[in-house]
């Protein structure tokens, strides 16, 4: 950790920024998330209907797939991710809060809250504590010893991306070693293995039944059109979310931290770690919405429960604060960030 930074001042400035922004949160933010939900529903149902009209013109089917994929991306990113973070809990809305909400992916929302909201956001990029760093599958820094399986880790990465929702869903079970391997001594789970298994199969099963049985059956003779459409829409969503998330934490300059470094961390040091553990992606308004504003990964990690629509607004002030304290602010266009991710995966396939 850089010892020259005035962590106390940093913490005060960022706390003030959060407080100031929270005081402005209100009707516009509620209207915004409601509008996104309306778009999600419209795209989902528009997509599902168009999928069945493929026999009129195949283009209908293509538009249907894209529409359904967009709906699934919105549900996953701008709605699901952010609502499950508690960003909209202040609305007191029974349908838009982190306690009741669940999303249209294989991962049970509660499981994701434990592994992502708690572990990843508390111990961001702390090796051995944040299992999102490499997801237990990839070697992404010298903090891990090289193993033969890392040679073909790019293929592992491509597979993980395609099956990303299942990776996310299996994440907690893998961490708890529910099916394979021996549980780590220092891991104390609040949920027992049988409950984890039950949740995994029940949520995953519902998702499979819905996209690969029920909706195709409703389409009758167009069974295959719909099943393929749903499969491709899920695939597009998986690739998109995985890519955006990898760009947020695995670009070239992103730091890792050791457990010893983070003992007795102050608020300022915590902010500092979030800053160096994340990176942003430049883009337009629509791009930000479809990334669930994870293109503002730095702001999201500093203020995980600030409504996502506010990240664009606070970003310039975060840049200014970082500049004053001499902290790097990692950002760049999508292709540059993504090429850095690919390079990182390839670089660490070798010893």
């Amino acid at each position: 950790m850089n010892k020259n930074i005035n962590f106390e001042l940093l913490a005060n400035e960022l706390d003030d920024l959060k407080r100031q922004t929270l005081s402005e949160v209100g009707a516009t933010d509620a209207a915004y998330i409601r509008k996104v939900i309306v778009w999600q529903r419209a795209l989902e149902w528009g997509g599902r209907v168009l999928l069945m009209l493929g026999f009129i013109h195949p283009l209908c089917w293509v538009v249907g797939v894209l529409s359904l994929a967009s709906a699934k991306i919105l549900d996953n990113m701008e709605i699901g991710h952010n609502v499950l973070h508690g960003q909209y809990d202040w609305m007191n809305d029974p349908h838009i809060n982190s306690r009741q909400f669940d999303w249209d992916i294989a991962c049970d929302g509660k499981s994701w809250q434990r592994i992502h909201n708690y572990e990843h956001h508390t111990y961001t990029n702390v090796i051995g504590k944040d299992r999102d760093f490499g997801y237990g599958l990839l070697r992404l820094s010298n903090d891990f010893a090289w193993r033969v399986k890392n040679l073909w880790q790019f293929i592992t990465y491509v597979n993980l991306s395609m099956l990303f929702q299942w990776g996310v869903s299996y994440h907690e079970l893998a961490a708890e070693r529910v099916f394979m391997g021996k549980k780590k001594q220092d891991r104390s789970s609040k949920v027992d293995a049988s409950e984890l298994k039950r949740r995994f199969f029940s949520k995953g099963g519902k998702q499979l039944i819905k996209d690969y049985l029920l909706f195709p059956l409703l389409a009758g003779p167009l069974f295959l059109w719909v099943i393929c459409g749903n499969l491709i829409a899920n695939l597009i969503r998986n690739l998109w979310t995985s890519t955006i998330i990898f760009c947020g934490h695995f670009t070239t300059d992103v730091h890792t931290f050791s457990q010893a470094e983070c003992e007795n961390e102050t608020q300022g040091q915590w902010y500092y770690r979030q800053a160096l553990g994340s990176s942003n992606i430049l883009g337009g308004k629509l791009f930000h919405i479809f990334t669930g504003h994870l293109s503002f990964q730095i702001e999201h990690h500093l203020f995980p429960d600030l409504p996502s629509s506010r990240y664009q607004q606070v970003a310039p002030q975060v840049v200014a604060i970082f500049a004053r304290h001499g902290i790097a602010y990692h950002t760049g266009p999508f292709l540059r960030q993504y090429s850095q991710v690919v390079k990182r995966i390839l670089r660490y396939s070798l010893p």
Partner: protein, 373 residues
């Protein structure tokens, strides 16, 4: 639960992970039908009228399916104020069958809303609610109603004892009685007494009460002011032991009335009361606060130190709440605060009185709390 409801629930849970199909499609349906909302009755605001600087009167047209209220019942009003849904209970001050000259064809209910110390709701109402917009209602609730006995037992004198905005349920009941007399349903000729305490010049519905006194021959209205020397003891002195007494006002007022009635040997079983401020847990001194905790339906009473976080406090008492980061990031320790005020340690902000989600690890009790883990 009937078959249809169950089917709806199972389908919604399996396909959309929502409570019902209604809640899943709500955002779409509302585009077409703004009056629609899943799991709530909707009502359109017909008028918003300030009765006084600190009292607002709302006239609402509830949707058809809203169950008719009995005179004296209250309703939970849920309004979106600056993006936040807020809920408060209010007595209905109009009777179920009351005719509203302005809206002859619509069913109308009237709520009389007084600004209170926790002004977030009431001040928001006057700023954001205008005629034409929609609010959410619960089904009518409460047992503070005129019993059948009023009509069946003509010998029982009725005493209404109100303080401040406690007059609201009685307005509903008196209108109901006036209608019964008009239709000659009410046989009773025994006296009806309204004792109404308020600050000087702050009595509500004075004209309406005068008109009611003319329609109900046996009704006598006493508008009293404590500061002008009117005492509760004097007002209740003549109350016969056989009379049915209905009391509505602040909790303290209800206690005072009970004391006076006990003193003149009026039997407690002939009394009904409704008071504001949910029966508050007592305030403790030097840095401690009473907490009422509901955990899986089981209730516990605790006293916690106020200079500690709620999470630490609960753990010290041997209560294991779910937790994660303990620094306000992950929301794992989130629970429902039913009533009371907490301070958010990260922002220093004080919460509102009503129900909301809070994080135990960064909240401190500022007042007695009701929590649900």
């Amino acid at each position: 639960m009937n078959l249809l409801t169950r089917l709806n629930k199972v389908t919604a849970k399996t396909l959309f992970h929502t409570e019902s199909l209604g809640s899943y499609f709500e955002p779409l349906i509302q585009r077409v039908k703004p009056a629609w909302r899943a799991h709530w009755f909707r009502a359109q605001v017909l008028s918003v009228k300030p009765l006084r600087d600190d009292v607002l009167q709302l006239e609402l047209a509830p949707q058809k399916s809203w169950p008719q209220a009995k005179a004296g019942q209250h309703v939970l009003l849920t309004v979106e104020l600056n993006g936040r849904l807020m809920t408060r209970p209010f007595s209905i001050s109009s009777s179920p069958e009351q005719h509203h000259a302005q809206y002859p064809k619509t069913r109308v209910i009237r709520l009389t809303i007084k600004h209170n110390a926790d002004g977030a709701f009431t001040s928001g109402l006057s700023r954001h609610i205008t005629a034409g917009c929609y609010v959410n209602l619960s089904a009518p609730q409460g047992d503070f109603v005129l019993g059948e006995s009023v009509v069946d037992l003509p010998e029982t004198p009725l005493w209404f004892v109100a303080a401040g905005s406690g007059i609201t349920p009685f307005m509903a009941m008196l209108h109901q009685l006036a209608l019964s007399i008009k239709r000659s349903v009410l046989q009773s000729s025994s006296p009806i007494q309204l004792i109404y305490f308020a600050k000087a010049g702050e009595h509500l519905y004075v004209d309406e009460l005068t008109a009611l006194a003319q329609q109900i021959p046996q009704l006598s209205v006493k508008m009293l002011v404590r500061k002008n020397g009117d005492s509760l003891a004097a007002a209740l002195q003549e109350c016969p032991a056989a009379s049915q007494v209905l009391i509505c006002g602040p909790g303290k007022f209800k206690q005072d009335v009970d004391c006076q009635l006990d003193a003149i040997n009026h039997p407690p079983q002939h009394r009904q009361a409704e008071y504001f401020q949910a029966p508050v847990l007592p305030q403790t001194d030097n840095g401690h606060q009473h907490i009422q905790l509901t955990q899986r339906g089981k209730q516990t009473q605790l006293i916690l130190a106020t200079n500690d976080t709620l999470l630490n406090g609960l753990e010290l008492q041997g209560i294991s709440a779910n937790f994660g980061c303990r620094i306000g990031v992950c929301h794992q320790c989130q629970c429902v605060k039913k009533t009371g005020v907490v301070r958010n340690l990260r922002t220093g902000e004080l919460s509102q009185q009503g129900e909301q989600l809070i994080q135990l690890c960064i909240s401190q009790a500022v007042s007695p709390l009701e929590l649900e883990l």
